[in-house]
Amino acid sequence: MKFGNLVLAGLVTGSIYAVFAVCVSVWYRVSNILNLAVGDFAMLGALGVDNLVRVRNWPLPAAILTTLAVVAAFGYVYDRVVLRLALDGRRAQEGIVVTFFFTFALSFFIDGVAKVLFGTDVHAAPALWNGSSLTVLGGPHIERAGVLVLACALIIGSAFWLYIRYTLGGKAMEACGENALGARIAGIDTRRYRWLIFVGTAVIAAVFGIVESPITGYTYLSGATISLTGFIAAAYGGFRKPGRALLAGLAIGILEALLGGYVSAEYGDTVLYAILATLVLAWPRALGFSSAVSG
């Protein structure tokens, strides 16, 4: 029973890591930029909906739609104003270290705005599915919000997989990150894909924040932690393989829960990161880290 409960709890946490890892790796695949602000969009989604419902008394559907529209508009404006100027202008910037700072700075900017708008307390969007926890196969229990998180992860992961594998648009998206010049020669609009995926992953992150926040609760600083874990899971997929990043996210979540339950609740995270670091040192090529470094 304990093992089943831990695995289910780990699957829910792992789904969160997995979705953010997929968002990081899909956009990296298109633009060769690591999006460190993806977790901040989740925070914006959760705290934005909470603020509109709790403080301004908006109905929940209107609050969700407005928050998602604002996140999408913000992502679009950021691409137009910052990324287009920095990456497409006459003095275009290249290299992973330089472009890293574009989203790093964006993360700090969003945190600052969120602190002013939403304060520093822990809040969460209202639960979308109320009620007591559910029993799976007569044994382990799972919260209803956890079921929604798992369902979202499954839908989002499958949608990306189907898009990349079975559509010409998905393959064109991959081509943008593989070789931008080669993509333009084939008539692919690389800028359009960059902003579409950036806005798309920002909205997905916001949806996830709204669905997941009733479980953990968010502050204006929660985004950085989520981004970091998603980033680590994405690194296990070499930043370019969303499917592998998704599996890595799920595995990290389950491992974290099992370590917390059987080894030490206090030092579970320390042991987890020690294991992850050891794996990287032992099998860097098999885990995709060599491709992450070489691009």
Partner: protein, 234 residues
């Protein structure tokens, strides 16, 4: 099999050149790579652009295709080409097979080829069932066993074949190939030239950029020489 819309180009008459270049210059900062180039190529013609390396051949081709910004005019079948818009050129029928191939190394060979269809369809099903995609696969049957292999793991010769196949899948009216034999063995170079000859025989206007004119002139009707960025007829 379905295929792209291949009707006559709007505004094109029998006398309209496939490609007209008028007073075109290409510069990288203060360095002028192509000076005031003017020439035209008739529909169905095969034209070699030759000259020593570093004299502006590739810059001339990139300026025509819209990969770099240029001064002066370029018309494709009588329609002025927007400056710096390689997508417009691809959709209008001018396809570039660039120097060093510019493939997508992590994607399979077949995905590289099918992406050539992107300039005329957004449907993967239509692209795979199309005549240009079928013709591309027929052009180099030796690539068939390697279609699922990542393009980056293919040999140089195989990569050049895939680059030409991607170009052919775009259903080009004008195919511009930059240094098709760069780094290839003699047997592979002959194979690539045989394929280019077949593409030309099928009615496609062909532009071949080569340092040495001898091989290019085995399939080309005429030659344009580029020396120190100046275009002339030898």
């Amino acid at each position: 099999m379905t295929g792209p819309m291949t009707g006559p180009m709007t505004g094109a008459t029998p006398a309209t050149p496939a490609l007209a270049v008028r007073s075109m210059s290409v510069a990288y900062g203060a360095m002028v790579a192509v000076h005031d180039a003017t020439f035209s190529i008739a529909p169905g013609e095969a034209c070699a652009i030759t000259g020593p390396n570093g004299n502006g051949k590739s810059s001339l081709l990139m300026g025509i295709a819209g990969l770099v910004r240029r001064r002066g005019g370029v018309e494709i079948f009588g329609v002025p080409a927007p400056n710096g818009d390689v997508r417009w050129a691809a959709r209008r029928g001018l396809t570039l097979v660039p120097e060093r191939r510019q493939l997508y190394p992590g994607l399979s060979a077949v995905d590289n080829i099918v992406l050539g269809c992107y300039c005329w369809t957004s449907s993967l099903r239509k692209a795979r069932a199309s005549r240009p995609f079928g013709l591309a696969l027929e052009l180099f049957p030796e690539i068939r066993p390697h279609l699922r292999q990542p393009a980056g793991t293919l040999s140089g010769g195989q990569q050049q074949m895939v680059a030409i196949m991607r170009g052919l899948a775009s259903d080009p009216k004008i195919l511009a190939v930059d240094e098709p034999c760069l780094g290839l063995a003699e047997a592979m170079s002959r194979r690539v030239y045989d394929a280019l000859a077949r593409i030309h025989e099928a009615g496609t206007t062909l532009i071949v950029v080569e340092e040495a004119p001898k091989r290019a002139l085995t399939i080309c009707d005429r030659r344009v020489e580029v020396r120190n960025g100046v275009v002339g007829t030898p």
